[in-house]
Structure formats: C-alpha cells, structure tokens
C-alpha cells in the first residue's frame, strides 16, 4: 500500500500536526520505507490468535467510590499557557 502526498496530508491532519506542502513528498517516501519493512508481518500466520493488548494478567483493582484528591485549582492551572481568575484562558472557539 503506497502512501502518496495526499495521504500524508490527510494523516498529518488526523494527527493534528501542521505539515508544510514541501514536506509531504519526503514524508511519504519515509513512511513508505517504514511501512514496506512492516509489511513482513503479513508472513506470520495469525489465524485464531487473539490480539494482545496487555501483559498484565490480574483483574483491575477496585477501590471505594470516594473522593481521594482534589481542591488543587491553582496547581492545575500552574502550567497553563494562559490563565486568569482561576480559569484557563483559550482563544475564541465559537466562530
């Protein structure tokens, strides 16, 4: 499956990474190189094999349904690019 510049543009948008037009072709070439190498996975017989998403074979721990943390507004805001009056300040989003 060859990737062209249009596919890179679409995928870069999915990844929310602005990619200049002159980078699309080089990126397509790089990704094609990597994906061609990945294609060897098609040699593996995976019939009847369950996908493996985790190495952990224990049930999830449950805890009491109580508040364990909170009241840290200023901590939460301390790394905001902009904040004012206890709120995050973001650009206008309703256009």
């Amino acid at each position: 499956m060859a990737i062209d510049a249009a596919t890179v543009r679409r995928v870069a948008h999915l990844a929310r990474i602005k990619t200049p037009e002159d980078r699309l072709e080089p990126l397509a070439a790089e990704l094609n190189g990597i994906l061609a190498w990945i294609e060897q996975l098609n040699e593996v017989d995976v019939a009847g094999v369950e996908p493996m998403t985790s190495n952990v074979h224990q049930p999830l721990h449950l805890r009491d349904d109580v508040v364990t943390d909170g009241g840290k507004r200023d901590d939460v805001l301390s790394n905001a690019p902009r904040a004012a009056d206890g709120f995050f300040v973001v650009p206008k989003v309703v256009e």
């Binding site: 990126l27 190189g33 994906l35 190498w37 995976v46 952990v56 301390s78 256009e95």
Partner: protein
Amino acid sequence: MSDLTKLTLKAALDGLKARDFSSEEITRAFVANIDAANPRLNAYVVQTTDKALEMARASDARLAKGEGGPLEGAPLGIKDLFCTDGVQTTAGSNMLRGFVPPYESTVTSNLWADGAVMLGKLNMDEFAMGSSNETSAFGPVVNPWKSSASNADLTPGGSSGGSASAVAGDLCLAATASDTGGSIRQPAAFTGTVGMKPTYGRASRFGMVAFASSLDQAGPIAKTVEDAAILLRSMCSFDPKDSTSLDVEAPDWTQSLGKGAKGLRIGIPKEYVVDGMPAEQMDLWEKGKAWLRDAGAEIVDISLPHTRYALPAYYIIAPAEASSNLARYDGMRFGHRADKASSLTDLYETSRAEGFGKEVQRRLTIGAYVLSAGFYDAYYVRALKVRRRIAMDFDAVWDKVDAILTPSTPSAAFAIGDKQVDPLQMYLNDIFTVTANLAGLPGISVPAGLDKGGLPLGLQVIGKALDEATVFQVADVLEQSAGFTARPEKWW
C-alpha cells in the same frame, strides 16, 4: 579520602552508614564533576544543586542518629521522564519546555522516601523516541567512551542516554531510566553500565511521561549488578494510581547474588543473530555461554521463531499508543501553545508542529495512519496478534529453560550523526531488546567485553515474568566471570 564519585552505590551506602564521609561531601563531589563534565557530555538538562545539598544535609542528620532508609544519602540522577515536584520535567521536548509538575512520580517518591538525594534531571530522546539521544530538544548526550580508532563523539544510546552517560562518567552513583523497546538496556550496553528493565507492572508508571503505555517500564542504570538490584527494589511498589501496577512485593534481589548457576538451564535462541554483527559480539556470546557452563549451568539451544517480527510489530504498536497518549498536547492546559493561528484546529496543528521534533512527528503520523479507518485491522490488530505470537514463543520455552542469554545490541556505540539518514537503521538498535517489552518480561544488560575499538559490549539476560531473582543471579555470574573493569578514559 579517595574519589567518592568512583564508588559503587553499595560501597557509598556502606561508607555513608559507617560515617566514613557525609552525604554532603559525596553530593558536593558529584556536583563538581557535573559542573566540569556537563558542557561536554550534556547528560543533565537541569541541575538541582541547592535541593541536592538540602536533601544531603537532611540525610546526614538522619544518619547521625543511626536512622535512614535503604538509599540514605545516595546522590542519584533522574531521567527527565519522571515528574518531579517543583522541578522542570520536559521528556526532552520543546512541547514541555518550562513545564514544572506540581506532583511527584511514584518511582521518585519511593526513592526520596528511601533517603536518596536528587542531583538533577537527565537528558533523553524526545518522549523516549530514539536510540541515540539525538532527538532531544536539548541536544545529544555524548558517551564518555571513545573508540581507539577515532576521536569522534559517540552516542551513549537512547532513549536513556543521559542516565547511561551520567553513570559511566561518574556524574551520579546510579540513575533512573525507562525502557519501551530497549531504552534502558541499549544505553547500558553502549556505556559499560548495567541496565535492568523489570517485569511490566513492577514499577508504577504514575508520573512518568507516557510514550507507549503497554510497553513503558521504569528501571535502573547502575555501575554493577548489585547496585541495580538495590536501586530497583526501591523503585518498585504496588501503586493504586497505576491500573497496570502489579500487587506484588519487591524482594531483596541482592540475595540472588553470589549463588553461581548450578542447576540453572540457560536458553540460547538461534534467532538472535543479525547480518553484519561484529565478530567480537558473537565471540562474547560464546564466552557468556562458557562462563555460565563453568558456573554449573546447562546450556540449551532454543528457538523463538517470531523474533524477527518483533521490531516491525513494535513500530506499529508503539506509534499507535503514542499517537493516542500524545493527543493530550493540544496547547490548551499545559505545554507549548503557538502565538498565532487562524482557527482552533490551526492552533492545535501549529502548536504541535512547533512543539514536537521530527522523529516524534514521524511516529505520531505512523500511529495515526495505522489506527485510521481502513488500516486498523490490517496494521494495528495484526501487530497485536503478532505480539501474542512473540509472547507465546517465550511461554513455550519456559518449561525447558530458566533464563535466556542473548547479545544486548547488534553493535557497540556509534558516532553521533552516523544513523541519521535512514530511520530504519536507527530502529534496528532495539532488535534484541524489544521482545522483552512486547512480552512484558524482565531483561538486564551486563557489560561483558570490549570490541576491537575498545568500546563496551553487553550481554542480555531475559527471564520469566516476575522472576527478576534468576535474572540477577545469572547477571551476577556473567559480571563476576567477565571481570569487566574497563573505564572510559577521562577526556572531558
């Protein structure tokens, strides 16, 4: 007093306890080393000297009263992937430049509770994506080792290159590191240090900047197997804040040392050979077998047939998880935000294009592609099935062997800039280490010999899940038999 910074962690802890020297003295010695070396080695991105001295004095007060934890007074370096309360944590990325966590990672909390002293934060590949430290926004770390064949600066490997370089260069007693595909073991092999990745779930991931959550695991880089055993125990704990944390005790792994290898069956997988592997690396593997045989082990030839598919499967799974994990960097609540944008989407896209480096962008793009509609089953789900095949390969040999011996890396350290052209060449660094991440198994790299240029080479021991004890036992035999005492000649 001889040079305190050359001590092992174990010897330093003994010296501190016996009050042969104070924590403040050894801390000041390391600070002086860092001040002198860092302009050349670039191992530390943040030095926390004032905090270190304050912690050291508090340790000295406890030691004076005959109190103190298992790491009391020991100056350590912390990979910049671990969130440290009030100290900048960037994971090597411009996206997080200036980010100061208001909380502490569980791993580092455990170290401070055990009395350790923080010297600073160690450089790393951006978001741990790299094998040479060249993707760091703070510039590459330089390996203290040089080849006799050339004066070129070498990479210490990655992503925990700062940790490895700092330990090898006597810029800390030991360091924390993390390993997603080999990021502890490959840098350890490149710098003549010991690097241990425990079983997935042993160490909490809470407060570690996430790369690929089903693979990421913290562990130590240290000067000796014993030091790694000491530090790993302090790092590990059950943590309700990490849903994948295992509810198991971390035993005293130093009890596994000095026991020889009598009765152990050591597997030699025939698939752990790659084209172009240097003769010295093959010879070293043979020596490793002979050492273990001499120590009483039985050497068993085994096959792990899906080994060659581990790396391509990893380069689907890790980018896919990264593309999901790194979606949080949107420039809104923390991290870099672009100054100008024409719309909300443009603001996201511009902030991320400015904040992420080239390799991170490449992997996020791959991740978005393999998860996108129409390709999800063909790439992502297939890779997860191959991952299970790889885990099943290991399951199938554990009734025949107790541990597995392999080379750590296909080569010794390479020069900075050597593998910049083709990303695939860089990815191949992890070919022997990535299987343990996919299967969640413990693995250690032990320095065991030198190549013809005088650069260190490592041997890797892989064990059963939660059987770090046998891994340390075998690693100790290798360390004792190899008698690896070479040190980098100081040029910095």
